[in-house]
Symmetry: C2
Subunit: 334 residues, 2 copies
Amino acid sequence: MATIKDVAKRAGVSVGTVSKVLNGVYVRDANRLKVEEAISQLNYQVNTYARGMKAQFTNTVALILPDLVNPFFALLTNYVEQELFRKNYRMVLCLSSGSFEKEQGYFAAARQNKIDGIIGLTYSDEAEKYVSDDMPLVSIDRYYEAHIPCVTSDNYQGGVIAARHFYRTGCHQVAYFRTGAKTAGSTLERDRGFLETSRELGMECVHMDFGEEPGAQTADQIYQYLQEYQANTSRVVEGIFFSSDDLAVMTVEKLRREGIRIPEDVQIIGYDGLTVLNRGPLYVSSIRQPIQEMARCCVEQVMRVIHHEPAQMLTVLPVEFAEGGTTKPQISGG
Amino acid sequence: MATIKDVAKRAGVSVGTVSKVLNGVYVRDANRLKVEEAISQLNYQVNTYARGMKAQFTNTVALILPDLVNPFFALLTNYVEQELFRKNYRMVLCLSSGSFEKEQGYFAAARQNKIDGIIGLTYSDEAEKYVSDDMPLVSIDRYYEAHIPCVTSDNYQGGVIAARHFYRTGCHQVAYFRTGAKTAGSTLERDRGFLETSRELGMECVHMDFGEEPGAQTADQIYQYLQEYQANTSRVVEGIFFSSDDLAVMTVEKLRREGIRIPEDVQIIGYDGLTVLNRGPLYVSSIRQPIQEMARCCVEQVMRVIHHEPAQMLTVLPVEFAEGGTTKPQISGG
C-alpha cells in the first residue's frame, strides 16, 4: 500500500507539500495537480481523517440520494438541511440516480477533507468496495461490510405490522409485490417481516419482484400476474402489501379501473406513509416511516463521526400503521 | 464607504493579507479572523466579484428555496442539481422558509467568493435591500430593483389561459383564490392575467386572498366565503382559479365532501401542473409550469454571471393548460 512518501516521490515534491494538499492548505496549482495525480496513480488512500491529523473543517456535509422525484427523499432532504443548519452546517446535495461515478466524487471530497462528512443512501454495488472503516459516512438503510453507522427504520416490523393487519381483518391469501434495488439494504427486511409473519399466521402468501424501478407498465403487469395467479390456483388474494406507496398507488388506480373494489375486494397496504402534496390525506393505508426523526438521527451520527466521538453503529427507528382508506378495520387480535 | 485599506488598518495587517482573505488564499487563522472581524465592523462590501479580481472558483452554486415540502420546489431542485452536475458544479442547498437571516449567510458567501453564485427564490423583504447589481445571483420568479437576471414562467399568460378556458366552457361567474407572499414576484401576474381577461370577456369575477400559507382551515374558509358570496349576490360561481395546485386540491376535497360535483357544478383550475407522487396523473386541471426548462435556464444564466458573460436579464418560459378531470371540455372559441 502506498505511503505519503511514495506520493511525494512520484509527484516530485516534498512530503510537506503532499501533507498540505491533504489538509486543504494552499499550495501552488501546479504542485497540487502533481500531488493529486500521484495520489490517483498510486491509489493512495488519503486518510487524514482516521489518523486525526489537523483538518480544516468546512462545515459542510454532503447528502447523497438517488433523486428528489420520490417525495420520501424530498422530505428527508428538507429535514436533513434544517438539522444541519441548526448545527451551523451547510448541505451539499448529490442526486446520484444510483451512479457510482457521481457518488465517488463526494466520497473523494470527504477523504480529502473538502467536505466534513457524508449522509448517504446509495444503491450502487461499487460503493461497497470503495467504502472503508474510516470514511466519514453515515448510511441510510444500507449495511456496509465496513464499520459505517447506519440509520434506518424498523423495516422488518413494518412487514410484520402489514401481515398482522391482513390476518386480523380475516385474510387467508395475501401477496407481496416489490420493486427496487436488491443491494444489501435494510429495506429487504420488509419482505422478510411480511413473508415470515404471513407463514406463522397460516396465511398463503405469493410474492413477486417487478424490477428495479416501477414504470408505466408495472401496474398492468401486477394486475395480469394477479389474474393469472388466481386463475391457476383458484384462490382469491385478499390483501396486497407493496414495497412502496408509489407502487401501491399505481396498482390501486389500475385495479379500480378494472372494477375491483378497494378495500372490499382486496385490501392494499403501501410503504412510507406519504400524503397528498405532503400535507393532505394519505394516498393509501401504509407503514409510516418517521422521516423527520430519521433526518435528526442521521445528522446526530454524522456530527459524532466528524468530531471523532463514538457513533451509534445502528439506529433503528419505529414505524407505525397508518389507515388511509384502502384497508378494513381489524376484527380480532392475533 | 470603507476601503480595503481601512480594513487592513483596522485589522492591523497588510493590504496583501486582506486581499488574500478576500480571494480565499491561505493565511494564518489568527490573521484571517482579524480581517473578517474588521470587514464585519466596517461593513466593508467585499466585492471582489464585480471588480473582476482573480477569484478562486469553488465550482459551487447555492440554491435558495423556501422548502422541499412543496413538490414544485423538490422537482426544481432535482433538475437544478442535474444541470449543475453537467457543468461540473456542486449544489449547496439552503431552505430558508423565507428567513432572511438564513439566506444572508449564502449571500455573504457569494460576495466573499466562498461560493461562485446563487440561484434563489426568496420572499423576504430584506433581500430587496441587500441584493445589489454585482451580486452573482439569478432570481426565480422575483424582480429585484437591482439588475439581477430573472427566470420565470409566463404567469400572466397562465391567468389568461385559465380565464379563457372558463369562458369557452360557458362560465359567466368565476372566482380567483390565492395564498402566498405578496413580495414583488412575477407570480402576482397570475392574478392580473386572470382578472383582466375575465373582465375583457365579460365574466363576473370575485377574488380573495387567503393569507401567506394555506393551512388546515383554508379550505373551510374558502367554502364559507363562496357560500356567503353566492347567498349575498344570488350568483353561482361556475369556475375557480387557484394560485397553486395545493390550494386547489384541498378545496376540491372540501367541496366534494359538501356534495358539490366537480366539474359539473363548479370547475377547478390549479397552478403548477403537479402529478400524483410526481409521476402519476394530475391532481386537478392546472396551468403547467416547465420546471425542467426553468432549472436549465437558471443554471445557464448563473454560469454566464459567474463567468462574466452577458446574461439574459429576463427569461419568460411558456406555460400550458393541462386537463386533470376538474374542468369541462371547451365548447367554443373566444
